[in-house]
């Protein structure tokens, strides 16, 4: 409901006050009256007044004085001067002092209401203008603050930031970006992207983001960029205006050089150590063989037994060396995977054949069941052999005498699953997340005799990951473990 408008009538003559009240009330106005300028100002201070009708000549405080005081105290309340005939010059003087209008006595009701309406309209417009001005000032302030804050955040970031518009021109980049790319400014802004980062794969990726941003759900592209000795991980994403139109792209560059160097050092180290260990190991192994073959004289049974055990230990060390080399190879990306259509049935039959003697020695049965129509997977044959030799020989090692290892294959649409299930000792639930870690070995009194490197499962995971597959394990203590390898077709 609209608030009622209050009109204050100020006149020393009661007749005028009452007259105005009688005229205005039927028009829907609330009417307040004051007999003097002083009284009027007090009243305005005490209650809301929208418009004032003020007699020009009053004893004591006249309209001019009221205008002066009200103008500074209530600047947005319009004052209309009531003036007697022939005093127009004075009224004009009042207008100069800030009165909004004047009506001459004797006045007609329509003149009076018209003047009031216009005054109120002016008041309304003034108030609206003021409100808009304040709002604009507030928005500008917020915007400036937001801008300054963003600017500071972007410039303080330890990661490089690069923003392009949709024409692939750079519109913003931060000092870290310039530093990471070894650029010395100033470069033109907006400037062509290749002037900042001339890397084809990056240009292609950003171009693709721009092309597809509006047709496909927004995505974040991640890629590694190598500039000299600096390795960067670049995360790029498009950004949109309020109308869903793509406006440009933002890329954040994270410096991963230290990680890369550390990784390369680690691989180099593993490689060197492996090599330096492998050579003497060859000599030791052959020396043992020579003695065991009796080439260095008679060997007693006790000596033969001790040497055979030493041979077993040496074999274990050699496997450790080979596996750590393999891991280093896979992690360094040196190992080339030849992804060809591969029948897992064939691979698994070979693996089972290879491990049959070992299984018989440990009184474990191997059961292979592969459906004849199992579709081929895209995989590297040697790597797959390695994966399943590891999984099956683990299953044999951790099975008790008389245990059984079941190797089976299943087809799930885009994936082929190979399952290696044993009836072994099982794995403690808290050990499960760690078993694929390098050098992790389950500690268990019953596994103490099992020779292993702790690298087998890490290698399995490395290879399966490199094939974009997954490996999962389920285990129940005392019942057995099942390893599931999922490989894409």
């Amino acid at each position: 409901m609209e608030e009622q408008t209050t009109v204050l009538v100020v006149d020393d003559e009661k007749v005028i006050r009452d007259g105005c009240t009688l005229l205005l009330q039927p028009e829907g106005y609330l009417v307040a009256t004051a007999a003097s300028g002083r009284e009027a100002l007090d009243l305005m201070g005490a209650q809301p007044v929208n418009v004032v009708l003020c007699d020009l000549k009053m004893p004591g405080m006249g309209a001019l004085e009221v205008l002066e005081d009200a103008g500074s105290l209530f600047p947005d309340v319009p004052i209309i001067i009531i003036t007697g005939h022939g005093k127009v010059a004075d009224a004009v003087e009042c207008m100069k002092k800030g009165a909004y209008d004047f009506v001459t006595k004797p006045f007609r009701v329509d003149h009076l209401t018209l003047a009031i309406k216009r005054a109120l309209e002016k008041q309304r417009l003034e108030r609206e203008t003021k409100r808009l001005q304040e709002e604009a000032a507030r928005n500008l302030y917020t915007l400036a603050m937001e801008q300054s804050r963003m600017h500071t955040i972007v410039n303080c970031m330890a990661d490089g930031v690069l923003v392009t518009n949709r024409n692939l021109e750079v519109v913003l980049c931060n000092p870290t970006f310039m530093q990471l790319l070894g650029l010395s400014g100033p470069l033109p802004q907006p400037g062509p992207l290749p002037a900042y980062l001339n890397e084809q794969s990056f240009l292609d990726a950003i171009g693709e983001l721009c092309d597809k941003a509006e047709s496909e759900p927004a995505k974040c592209l991640s890629q590694e960029i190598c500039r000299g000795r600096v390795h960067l991980r670049a995360m790029s994403a498009p950004f949109f205006g309020p109308d869903e139109k793509m406006l440009g792209t933002v890329t954040v560059f994270h410096d991963i050089t230290a990680f890369k160097e550390l990784d390369a050092m680690k691989n180099e180290f593993v490689h060197m150590v492996s090599h330096e260990l492998r050579s003497p190991m060859t000599a030791i192994k052959l020396q043992h063989e020579v003695i065991l073959d009796g080439l260095a004289g008679e060997v007693t049974n006790k000596q033969r037994e001790l040497l055979s055990r030493a041979q077993g230990k040496i074999q274990g060390l050699i496997e450790l060396i080979n596996e750590s080399l393999d891991i280093a190879k896979i992690e360094a990306g040196y190992r080339q995977l030849e992804l060809l259509p591969l029948q897992m049935g064939e691979v698994l039959r070979e693996v089972v054949e290879l491990l049959r003697v070992k299984a018989e020695d440990q009184k474990v049965t191997l059961n292979l069941s592969i459906p004849p129509d199992l579709p081929p997977v895209r995989a590297d044959r040697r790597s797959m052999e390695e994966v399943f030799i590891n999984l099956v020989s683990n299953a044999i090692n951790y099975s008790p005498d008389g245990g059984a290892v079941a190797i089976s294959g299943f087809s799930h649409g885009e994936y082929v699953e190979v399952r290696v299930a044993d009836t072994g000792i099982g794995i403690e639930p808290e050990e499960i997340p760690k078993i694929f870690d390098k050098f992790y070995r389950v500690k268990h009194p019953r596994t103490r005799q099992i020779i292993g490197t702790g690298l087998g499962l890490a290698l399995v995971k490395g290879i399966v990951d490199a094939h974009r597959g997954t490996v999962e394990v389920e285990s129940q203590l005392g019942v057995g473990s099942t390893f599931r390898v999922f490989l894409p077709r």
């Binding site: 490689h271 492996s274 090599h275 492998r278 050579s279 003497p280 190991m281 060859t282 000599a283 030791i284 192994k285 052959l286 020396q287 063989e289 020579v290 073959d293 080439l295 260095a296 050699i318 080399l325 280093a328 190879k329 360094a332 040196y334 190992r335 080339q336």
Partner: protein, 126 residues
């Protein structure tokens, strides 16, 4: 018929010693050399029926010696078994697998090797 002569070149004296014991036990005559240069001289003195050659050696490595032998018509016919501890797929600057393949050795055995494999490789080349 006199015994076949096998020359073993490796910078690890223990390995040379052991391999020669193994080969001698099979009735071969064995010559020993401890790096590429010594191997080269030993070949000049007596042409081996098979050369067992280590890859990583000081002074002159196995790849280099093998390449030179295969480039010389006089020694081209000597069958070579390369012994290597270099991981097959890890590229290192000096001893890459690709280079190993390029030197045209008749056989390529990764270390650690066992006696049976070594004897078998030598027998195959005679």
């Amino acid at each position: 018929m006199s015994a076949k002569y096998v020359l073993i070149v490796d910078d690890d004296p223990d390995l040379v010693e052991t391999v020669s014991m193994i080969l001698e036990s099979k009735g071969y005559e064995v010559g020993k050399a401890y790096d590429g240069i010594e191997g080269e001289e030993a070949i000049k003195q007596r042409r081996p029926d098979v050369l067992v050659l280590d890859v990583m050696m000081p002074r002159k490595n196995g790849y280099q010696l093998c390449k030179e032998l295969k480039a010389d018509p006089a020694t081209k016919g000597i069958p070579v078994v390369l012994l290597t501890a270099v991981g097959e797929a890890v590229p290192t600057t000096t001893y890459s697998h690709a280079e190993g393949m390029a030197v045209e050795a008749e056989d390529f055995i990764p270390k650690p090797v066992d006696a049976a494999t070594l004897v078998e490789a030598v027998e195959r080349l005679l």
